[in-house]
Every structure is written in structure tokens, then in C-alpha cells.
């Protein structure tokens, strides 16, 4: 975390409007992307993105507030909210007919096939442990470097290597069933 981030985080403790707007503008889009990859639903991901930032407001000024890495905190909350969402649905969500289906120039049949594959992937990912899900999404879906993922998850790079190896192995087994 840079000094600037620390200063911003400190200012958020007093509900500084500029600092909070800065946090939202910096992290809202990445959080939305993370949630979208996990959920596969744009509207749902957008709603949960807003919810993530409201959770931030709730904990500011308390012991649960992020102390140093506000980005890591936001990702963790986003992931937990997504898992809560899955638990509430209790079933695999229907395939969303989002903008990609008509905006892209590909053949509709291929797109639907890709979509199903992606839904299967998401379904498999959701059966992993929380850390395995996060490392899969951050490391491969968001293509973040190993060191950054380690920093975001508060683990060593060696631990991330082990975690990602186990996650992919488990996912392959799940999708091969």
C-alpha cells in the first residue's frame, strides 16, 4: 500500500467525502469485474459492488475497519457477499442474456456454448474453498501477478503457489466428474 493509500484510508475514518469518492472511483470497477467473473451477472455484480462499499462505511471508525490494505479488504468483502448470494440462490443461476450475446460479432450458437462453459467453470469454482476461489479468480481470471495476489490475500508467494496448484487440481477433478 502506498503512502497515498494510507493517507486516503486515514481520511476515510472521518468520512471525508473526497477520500471516500477517491476510494470508490479507484476500486469500484475492479470489484465489479471480480464479482462479475464470479457471478456472471452484470446487474447482480453491480448491486453487490455498491453493497461492498456500503459495508466499508459501516465499519469505518470501528475495530473492523481496514487498517492498511483497503483493496484487499474490499475484495474479501466482495467475495463473501458473492458467496452469500450463491447460498441464497441455492441453485445455479440461469444463463444471463447480457449484452455480450448481441454486442459481439460471433455466432450466437458459439456464444451460448462459451457461456455454458463459463457457467460450468463458475459452478466448479464455487465448489472450491474460499481461498481457492479467490486465488483462482485473482490469479487466472484477473491475471494478477503472483506477488500481488499474495499481498492481497495476506499470504506468502509460496503459499499462493501451493494454493493455486491445489485449486486448479480440485477444479479439474470437479469439472471432470
Amino acid at each position: 500500500m502506498t503512502t497515498s493509500d494510507e493517507q486516503v484510508l486515514e481520511r476515510t475514518q472521518s468520512y471525508d467525502a473526497h477520500a471516500l469518492a477517491d476510494v470508490y472511483d479507484r476500486y469500484a470497477a475492479p470489484i465489479y469485474g471480480y464479482l462479475y467473473r464470479l457471478l456472471g451477472e452484470a446487474a447482480q455484480a453491480e448491486d453487490l459492488t455498491g453493497e461492498v462499499f456500503l459495508r466499508l462505511l459501516e465499519v469505518l471508525g470501528t475495530r473492523r475497519a481496514p487498517r492498511d490494505r483497503i483493496g484487499a479488504w474490499l475484495y474479501r468483502v466482495a467475495h463473501n457477499l458473492a458467496m452469500d448470494q450463491f447460498r441464497r440462490q441455492k441453485k445455479t443461476p440461469a444463463i444471463a442474456l447480457d449484452e455480450d450475446l448481441v454486442a459481439d460479432g460471433s455466432q450466437p450458437a458459439d456464444l451460448v456454448g462459451d457461456k455454458i462453459t463459463q457457467q460450468q467453470l463458475r459452478a466448479g469454482i464455487r465448489r472450491l474453498t474460499t481461498d481457492q476461489q479467490r486465488v483462482i479468480l485473482l490469479r487466472f481470471a484477473e491475471e494478477r501477478p503472483l506477488a500481488e495476489v499474495a499481498r492481497m490475500m495476506g499470504k506468502s508467494e509460496g503459499a499462493i503457489k501451493t494454493l493455486q496448484h491445489r485449486a486448479v487440481s480440485r477444479l479439474r477433478k470437479l469439472l471432470g466428474e
Binding site: A45, E46, L57, F140, A141, K161
Partner: protein, 368 residues
Amino acid sequence: MKRKADQFEHALQASSPGQPVEGPLASLVEMAHQVAGLSGTPPAPPQRLLPGRQRFLAEASRLREVRLRPRARLVWTLRLATALGVVVILLGVLFGTERAAADSLPGQALYGAKLATERIRLALTFQPESRSALAQALAEERMDEILALLEAKRGVDAAVSGRATQQLQQALVAATQLDDAAAPQALQKLSEAIQQREQATSSAAGELPEAPVQEFLREMERVREEAHRGQGDPEGLRRRLRNGAPAEPTDRPGGTPTPGQSPTRTHQAPSPSTTPGPSQTPPGPARPSEPPFGTGTPAQTPVPSMTPRSTGEPNMTHTPAPSVTYQPPEPPHGSTTPGSTQAPTADPPRGAPAQTQGSAGGGGASKP
């Protein structure tokens, strides 16, 4: 496991999506590449995240009001409570000291604090009625102190008697500063307050005759006389005090005693300038007058027990209290010679001998 994890990471780095992967970890690397299929740019959020931003900032503003205002109020409340606590403690200390000092007597540790408190109270009292009442209360306090000292067989020095005399004079002046309707009542109260204490003070002083005490007894009588006379003519008393005129003589041989006068008049000692004479030795059952200044003959010292003091320090009995400064009296018409027994004026003061010495003078200018 760690070795496999490292090998997997190495294979990931060496491969790229779309390229065939070989080796024991090929299936895992392909799986990872499949997951990477999720990495495409996600579709733009339907509402561009703007509602979420507005809601976020609005909620932040609301929470800022709800959470920080009470905290700020709490901080100010704590500061105010601390300040009030300090004030209460200080007031408690001051009040406690004042209460403890209230019963102190001259020479005791807290007596200075008592006098300081009285000075502050007097300085902060501006209404003439309140000021007069306070001045009289303080005069009564001084008289009670002297009485307490005498009853305790403790000495009364010139400073103590001078302070008491000054307070009596101050009460007299304060009473005359009231309007004509209120002044007589205040003067009457002062006169009565003095009268109530004269007898006891005189009795106590009889056992412990001291020059300052005798002087103070004369001052009590003088002020009482002034107050009594001023009841009927407040303006006249004001004029006399304003002009720094001496108090009218209190010894009026052959005159009718003022109602309420106590036998303490019999303790009146002649002033140094007063020529002794038969008229100045009023019959007194309790104690004869002290000998005149410089005439301490045995024949004039009828009470042996008083002889050492009256003869040893005769001048002290005629010295005004050091803390009180009276205006020098204007000599009556025709009485330019010190020691003249009678002012040859058309309206002599009821046959009283003229006192040219300021010791018995009732000038209103008392030094604070």
C-alpha cells in the same frame, strides 16, 4: 507438494493460452487457461456504477453527521465538564477557606484570608443599601472580635483597635450615603449594634485595661453618638463627614444622656488637648477617667490596678488609631488655643468642651 506447486507455476509461466502444453502438468495448465477464459473485459455495469456511487456518498454524508457529531459533542461535553469540575474544586477550596477563616480572630493564621474575603465582598458590593448593610455587618464583626479577644484575655493592639475603628467609621459613612428615607434606619441599626456591645466590651476591658481598648471604647461611643444624632438630621451628619469635621463631643457633662447610652461613657478618657476639669470627669461607678495626658500623679490614679498602664503609657490613650486618618478638625470659632475648655461660639455644642485633637474627631475621610 511444494515442489509440484513450483513446477506448476513454472509450467504456467512457460505456457500461453492457445498453445499446446506438454508434460505431466499439461492438464492442470489447460485448466488454468480455461479459467483464464473468464478474464475477458466484463460487460459494462448496467448503470455504470453511478447509483452505487451516489448511494455510497450519500450514506457517507449521513453517517458523518450521525457518528461524528455526537463524538464532537462528547468531546466538548467532556471539556466543559472538566472546566466545571476545576471551577467547582476551586470554589470549594475558596469557600472552605472562607468558612474556616470566618471564625478566626486577629493574630490567627486565617485572619488575613478573612479580611481579604471581606475586602473583596465590599469591593463587589455597589448598591448603597447592600454596601451599608455589609459595612455595618463588618463593623459588628470587628467589635465582636475585640470582645472575643478581651474575653479570652488576649491583648488588643493598636492595629486591631484601629481596624475596628475604621470599620465603624466606614459603616457610619455608608449609612449616610443612603437616601433620607433609609439613612435614619441604617444609622439606628448601627447605633443599636454598637450599644449592644458597648457594655460587654467595657466590662471585659475593665479586667484588661489597655490603651487601644480604651481608645476603641471612645470610638464606639463617638460613632454611636454620631449615628444617633444623624437619625434626626442625616444631612447634617453628611455635611459634617464631608467637611471632615470632628465628631461632636461625646462628653456632655450635665447633659441628658442619649437614650440607649450605656455606662461606657464613664470610661471616656479625655483627649490630650482637653483640659481636665471637673466637668470632664463624669461620675462613673465602674471606672474613673484616666488621668489627663502627662499628669499621671498618684492622686489622679484612683484605681491602683490601672495605674501602670494609665501612667506608663498615658499618651497611647490619646493616640488615634494608626490605620484611621481623620481630617483635622476645624477649630470652633474663638477656640484657637489648644486646650481651651469651651468653644465660645454662639451655639456651643451643648456645653461640651471643644476637642481640637483629632483623636475623637469624626471626620468621614477614613483611610481604607
